[in-house]
Symmetry: C2
Subunit: 114 residues, 2 copies
């Protein structure tokens, strides 16, 4: 009934793809743990999401690019990415797993406003 | 426009009350950073919330009590507390600040189902 676990457990050392684990999934909100090991978005690819995303890096290091700026995220650094704000992951650490926690919300509202 | 900061910045060493900072506040979801330094719920007090709460301890240590069990949370440990599941904070570390990240959601649904 009460799902519990540890965000830093079972960190894979190397993966061909990013590992995405959905921790909460409701009509209002989706919470994901994402583990990257050197992954980046494909060249020229941009996320353009209907949902808002609040995301924090908890371990490792990542670089997030927007059309007009780039941000390096270290453990504890968070950013709120509004729906349809284009972004991509330029790089993640190859030295250690990068653990992200992402909260997606407001998708219905955003879609309705399109 | 894009609010960003660090969850581990500006950690107070000692506070008379818990420090609650609201990072995201929308009709669907509320995200809070909570900093405890030895705080606990008052004796006999139980949280009985209309919203679901997904909560993780990111630094420090805390003990969370439910009516039928008790859980020690260390960094990375998370738990999903359904709406109206009574709980209280038995203790938090006095040696260092305990940093919680809490995501509240589904309040409207829970309230409508009462």
């Amino acid at each position: 009934m009460m799902k519990s676990a540890n965000l830093f457990a079972d960190l894979p050392g190397n993966l061909p793809e990013e590992l995405i684990e959905i921790l909460v999934d409701t009509p209002d909100v989706r919470i994901e743990r994402i583990v990257s090991t050197g992954h980046a978005s494909p060249p020229g690819f941009w996320y353009d999401q209907a949902e808002n995303e609040w995301v924090v890096v908890l371990r490792g290091k990542a670089t997030l690019a927007f059309e007009d700026e780039e941000r390096v995220l270290k453990p504890g650094d968070y950013v709120l990415i509004p729906a349809h704000r284009k972004h991509r992951v330029t790089s993640t650490s190859e030295a250690e797993p990068t653990v992200w926690l992402a909260v997606f919300f407001g998708g219905k509202t955003a879609a309705g406003a399109e």
